[in-house]
Every structure is written in structure tokens, then in C-alpha cells.
């Protein structure tokens, strides 16, 4: 198993747990919780595969993804009362997932020879659209459109990856730098309640 596979699995688990917890808070039944765990975990990558035309989508070709999601889901159900007091660990899970998926999305975009802007879009989509799909399925305004710096961490992480890749740094450097950038931006943003200044239009 390569480093990449390990990161991939950690990303899947992180998002599946965070999705399960959101759905249990919404009082969905176990089937609904499973769908939300699944959608949060693979939603971004599925959208990416569909938009670039890489079908069947990745989790149809690699069933281990389904086993990891199912395991995380069962774990989240059993330890839900315990996890409830662990809002910090959950935040950490989600942040790790964000970093790992940013790396994966950037790699896939690079391999397919897209324009750098498209690669960053693909990476950001892979990393943050699982959460958007989760929120849509829960009938809520996607949280990343309103609060704090989330997807922007992914944008900067992916940019850093592309720049370091351009200068031929090796895989480990790319992976560690990108993860560190995404996780640092996210931690700093939440710690200091940073958010992007909002420009809005008042309703009459």
C-alpha cells in the first residue's frame, strides 16, 4: 500500500464519520444516515469523475471504498454519544479530509493535463463538494457558502501543490506541504474566527 492509498482511505473515513454525525443530528433513519455518509465521503470525487468523464465513477471500480465507508458509518453509530463530546476531533477529521482530497483532486487533474485553473477547480470540488451535496440532501444552505474559510484553504493547497510540482519536488514534499497549508489555513481561520469579508445587497 502506497502513501497515497493510505491518505485516500483516511480522507474517506474522515468524511464518512463527519457525514454520519450530521445526519444523526438531523434524525435521519439508518438508511438516510448511510446515504449522507456515502454522499459526504464520495460526493466531491463523484462529481469530479462525472464532469471530467472518468466513468464508471471511482467507487464503482474500487469496492474497498464502500467497505471503509460502511465501517466508518457503523463506528459513528456505535460511538455517537462519545463522538458528540468530541467536536474538536470531528473538526480535525473534516480538516484532514479536506487536505487529503485536495491532494487527490490535484493529482487527477494533473494526470489529465488540464489547465492549472481547471486543476485547482477540480481539487476544490473534490475536497469541498461532498459537504455541499450533504447539505443539499439535508435541505440546508451549504455551509461553505456562508461561513469561514473552508474551500479557500483547498484553493491555496492546490495552488501550492501545482507550484511545487512545477519545480519538480518529489511526491512526499508535495503531499506534506499541501496538507500542512490546507490544515494550517483552516485551523487559523477557525481559531481566530477569520472569514472572507462579505459584500451583500440589502433587501428592501
Amino acid at each position: 500500500m502506497t502513501l497515497f492509498n493510505l491518505l485516500d482511505i483516511l480522507g474517506i473515513i474522515s468524511f464518512a464519520i463527519s457525514g454520519s454525525l450530521v445526519a444523526m443530528r438531523k434524525k435521519f433513519d439508518p438508511f438516510g444516515v448511510y446515504i449522507i455518509a456515502f454522499a459526504t465521503s464520495v460526493g466531491g470525487g463523484t462529481l469530479r469523475d462525472v464532469l471530467i468523464g472518468a466513468q464508471p465513477v471511482f467507487w464503482m471500480k474500487n469496492t474497498s471504498v464502500i467497505f471503509f465507508i460502511t465501517g466508518s458509518y457503523v463506528f459513528a453509530i456505535f460511538f455517537r454519544k462519545f463522538l458528540k463530546y468530541l467536536s474538536k476531533s470531528l473538526f480535525l477529521f473534516d480538516t484532514i479530509g479536506l487536505g487529503l482530497y485536495t491532494i487527490m483532486g490535484t493529482e487527477i487533474g494533473l494526470k489529465a493535463n488540464f489547465h492549472p485553473i481547471i486543476i485547482v477547480s477540480i481539487a476544490t470540488m473534490t475536497a469541498s463538494f461532498g459537504g455541499v451535496i450533504r447539505d443539499l440532501l439535508c435541505n440546508e444552505v451549504p455551509v461553505i457558502f456562508r461561513k469561514e474559510i473552508y474551500a479557500m484553504a483547498s484553493v491555496f493547497g492546490s495552488l501550492a501543490f501545482l507550484i511545487l510540482h512545477f519545480f519538480n519536488f518529489n511526491e512526499s514534499v508535495l503531499y506534506i506541504s499541501t496538507s500542512l497549508i490546507v490544515i494550517t489555513i483552516r485551523l487559523v481561520a477557525v481559531k481566530f474566527h477569520l472569514s472572507i469579508p462579505t459584500f451583500y445587497i440589502k433587501k428592501k
Copy 2:
């Protein structure tokens, strides 16, 4: 016309009528009602085709689907007052659609040689995601995430299909058994108000 075609058409009609009625209850205009009828009827199969990469999606290659949906839609508009008192028949329509689409999804997954877990996922998606898309377009929490046993009927129907198929039973046996299983599970669940036990997290 084969048995399979006939079942297919019945599924399309069932879901198109049930979609039209939901949209009329939401006071959508006739265009909106049509889109909801369409999305309910072909939404699951469209998502399936997009995820497995079988494009153009099925209803673009077979325009008779559009004629059946349009006919069902016109029928539902004309007989809306009558159908209102027929909640039992509507439930039946929806249940028949669920069974038929489960069969179709399983067949398509088998032909494409997917892993059994993926086949069951594809079948369940084909059968129940038209309703999810309908609910999302109506801005409601998808009903199948919260109430009663619905998609689970589809999961068991598809599993039964795969097991019987493995033992080389013929098409009619497969179709009839799967339909019976899906419809029975659904009828029993609704009759006795069965639902999956829910594990949820209280909000503070």
C-alpha cells in the same frame, strides 16, 4: 414487446403520476409539474446512466419514454381530483414502480459486470433516487431518509434477484420473485408502520 418492456413502461407511468400529484400539491405551475413528473420518473435511471457512463442517458435514446411520461402527466392533471381520493392506488403505483425499477437496475448492473455490492447500489439508486431528486427540486428533505422502509425493500429485492440469478433461475422467476419481495416488504412496512430503529444525536 417483451415482458421487460411492459414492466419498464408501467414503472415510468407509476412514477410520473406520483410525481405529478406531489408537484400539484406544491402548487407548481404546469411546466413545474411536468419537470417534477419527468424527474421522478427518469431521475434514478438518469443518475445511474451518468455514474456508470452510459450516455446519452436512456430517455434520450428512446423517445417513447417521453411520450409515456407526457401521457401520464396529462392524465394526472385531468383526473387530479379523482386521484386525490385514491391515496391507496397512488401508494400502489409507487410501490409497483419501486419493484420494477429495482429489477431494471439490477439487470443493467449485471450486464455491466459490476461487483454485487455495486449492482445492489445501482438497483437501489435506479429505484429510489427519482424520489430523492423530486424532493430536492421541491425543496424538501428527501422522505426516504426519514420515513418507513422504502429503499431497503429495493435492497432486498435486488439481493434476491442476484441470488436467484446465481442459481440460474429463468427471467420470469427472477422478475416475479423480486417484484413480490419488494412489494411485500413495502406493504408490510406500511401496514404495520414498521421502520428501521433510528439512532440519533440530540442537539444541545
Copy 3:
């Protein structure tokens, strides 16, 4: 640059501005506003490309689309107070976008040799589903399912295009007629508050 390219760009700009304004009214942060601008502008065409199987989707192959959206987005943020008093110009932008995307969708459907009914569906989807995706991401019932004649203008515009094309009229005639039909239907509908008569079911 051909007439078609110019129209295309005007359509992208129109929808990106209208999307930005809706998102700013919902108090989304700048990242959220950008995603809504993007989704409104390319959502319909992206859905079209995914359903017909023309991936990578159009804006991944032509990055100029991204520059035009980004420019329109920045413009909309800077001039938001000014644009607020321009509800008429905004309506006009949206209507122009509707006409132009109807033309583009019809052309793409024709080139792919689809059945006329499918071509009209593809054109209507290209033209009006950006707005549906915008409304879903904003957690609102899609406005085109409830109010006034919107998508129907696109249906008639696309039909006119197909009929004139059948009689071998040249491109300019096709473009101008379709635009005029879509824009006229939309203007007349809004001016005289025309809407399609609604058939609905009362809740008990």
C-alpha cells in the same frame, strides 16, 4: 470571433451577473457568490454535457469561460449598489441569456442528431437549468416551477429554430428569430403578468 462566440460570451456574462446578485442578496460570502455565479452561468450547459456524454464539460476545455465569469463576478461585486437599482437591466440580462443559451442548446442537439423532442429538451435545459441549480444551491424552490412564463419561452424559441432550420434558412435568420421569439415571449409575459394556468391539489 464568430457571431456565435459573441452570443455565447454575452450569455455567460448575463447569467454570471444575475447569479452574483442573487447570492449577494442571500448574504453568501465571496466564495459562495462565486460558486453561485459559476453555477448559474454554466450549470445548464454542464448538465447538458453530462447527460449527452460530452465530457470533459465545455468549460473545462475552454478556460475563457472562467475568465468571463470571474470578470462578471468582480464587476457585480463592485457595482452591486448601482445594479440594485437596475432591476430592469437585470431582467434584461437574464432574458438575453435565456435566448442565447436556447440557441446554443438547439445547435448542440442538432449536431448530435437527436430526435427533435430531445433537442428542444436539451435547449430548454441549457437555458433554464442554470437558474434551477442556482435556486437549489440557495435552498429555495426553483422559481421557474412557480412563476410566469420562463422556460416555455425557451421551448418555443427552440421549436422555431428547428422549423426554420428544416426550411434551410441561414444561421443569422435562425439566431435572430429565436432570440426575438424568446425575448418577446418573456417581455410580454412579464409586462402583462401572464402565467400558465395552474392545476393544483388542495391539501386537506
